[in-house]
Amino acid sequence: MADDNHRPEAPPTASDDARPAGTFEFEIEQSHKWYRRPEVLVPVILVVLGLSLLAVVEAPSGRFRSQFTPGRDVSFGWDYFFHLVPQMLRGLYTTARATVLGFLIAASLGLVMALLRRSERPYVSLPAAFVIEFIRSTPILVQMFFAQVLVRATPWLTLNPIVILFIVVGIHYATYASEAYRAGINSVPKGQWEASIALNLDPATKWTRIIIPQAVPNVLPTLGNYLVAAFKDVPIGDAVLSTAGVLFFANTIRADDFRPVEPYLLIGVGFLLVSLPAAWLVRRLEESIEYERD
């Protein structure tokens, strides 16, 4: 809680009197820095560990296939709906994995783009600004098609569809991430920059000890929001590049069984079950990471 940081000495309470003489109670002061507070750090580390596990472990491969189909007169077969769940989860795993790997590219490339955009030389910053604006305002679907034919047109280049998906999602969301980084860096008060000049800090110290620790609390929740947004865009890759994600699962089942209602509603539900908790976690992070600047 933000208020606890500045709380003066706790006022004596009734329980203080009841304590036997000679024992002390320490009130551990919460750190002023967001990255030293356990209630921020522990979930962040857990999430990062979980995501990296996701990036390393591959989904079991195999064709999506249903065991049985309900009769033609059944408009919504619940048995059928539930027996598709394990296969849907497999597709969802592939989608989530593609999201995480794509976002790794986005988060690192975004920082580079942000720094290029911030450059003082106009012949660097203007093209960077145009590229960012261009990629941001064109559909990721068209970009995926473009990447696909570009790979096809380049004889020396062969890439897996899933790798094309990582790269396109990575570049697309890098432009979003770069805006987040830029906003985060700009939100560091001017006095902090001036103070680091006044104290004659070298650039490395200035960036690592002054600017970035203050920029991250503004950047991290925005990046989290974009991670959720990227997760929502990755199924487009199933339609364009035929990667084996949730939408591919639903399309396969529909083509095999001629029953579109159950698989599509199932992936809708499965999607909400992942993206809603994720969005909620990001909101929690946003609230707990608030940095005091007085």
Binding site: S137, P139, F146, F231, P235, F271
Partner: protein
């Protein structure tokens, strides 16, 4: 540079596609704006059930992927609800797609409108109570006109996001710019992958120009609004009798 230009016939087809895309965008925008107003105000309602329903809608519309919402809307919903709502049967993909994108936009737009209503200083609402304006008057004449200045910039970004979303309609076999492109590709097999790459570069630029057009329209609206704010020519809830005020 000349290698990057297509033939006039190809541009004519892409132009038809672009028109279809703009039409889908217009439909989605109209529905999305309506939903965001209703739901955004509904999230601040005093009644708990209205707040609950609005919250549920926002979470649903923002949580689901737009392509999955689109496929559900176009493929599953007409089969599932076709008996209850016969209107849904035989609707074109463009209409159903616009509805799906409008639902998606409504969720994001509601949060924009809620945020900007909350950003209006509290004194404005209190002044309305002091002036005995009804809640509807308060919203229509005092809160929303001021909130509009805060709403416009993020709403412009959201509209560009929806413009990008319209490309998904081609995935469920609707006609738009992207589908027109794919139709062109079918006739371009002789030119090989390089020709198709050039085609996609052109299509990307058309989307970019469309997005800049949307951006420009919103900038224009902002400027008009700012001018009106400075001239104070907005409408007032109660007719102000200038002569009477001056005479007293």
């Amino acid at each position: 540079m000349e290698d990057l230009v297509l033939t006039p016939g190809q541009y004519a087809q892409l132009w038809n596609g672009a028109l279809a895309t703009v039409r889908i965008l217009a439909g989605a925008f109209a529905l999305g704006l309506f939903l965001s107003l209703v739901v955004g105000v509904g999230r601040l309602s005093e009644r708990k059930w209205v707040r609950g329903i609005s919250f549920g809608f926002v979470e649903f519309a923002r949580g689901i992927s737009s392509i999955i919402l689109l496929t559900i809307m176009v493929i599953a919903i007409p089969i599932l609800l076709g008996d209850v709502f016969p209107w849904l049967r035989g609707r074109s993909v463009a209409v159903l797609g616009a509805i799906a994108l409008g639902l998606n936009m409504g969720g994001y737009g509601a949060e924009i409108i809620r945020g900007s209503i909350l950003a209006i200083p509290k004194g404005q609402g209190e002044a309305c109570i002091a002036l005995n304006l009804s809640p509807t008057q308060r919203l229509r004449f005092v809160v929303l006109p001021q909130a509009l200045r805060i709403i416009l910039p993020p709403m412009g970004n959201l509209t560009i996001e929806i413009l990008k979303g319209t490309a998904l309609v081609s995935v469920v076999a609707g006609f738009d710019l992207m589908r027109a492109t794919q139709n062109l590709i079918a006739g371009m097999l002789a030119q090989g992958a390089l020709g198709v790459t050039v085609l996609f570069i052109n299509v990307l630029f058309i989307y970019f120009i469309l997005a800049q057009g949307v951006n420009g329209l919103f900038r224009l609206a902002e400027r008009v609004l700012d001018r009106r704010f400075e001239q104070r020519t907005g409408r007032s809830a109660v007719p102000i009798n200038v002569a009477a005020t001056a005479g007293s």
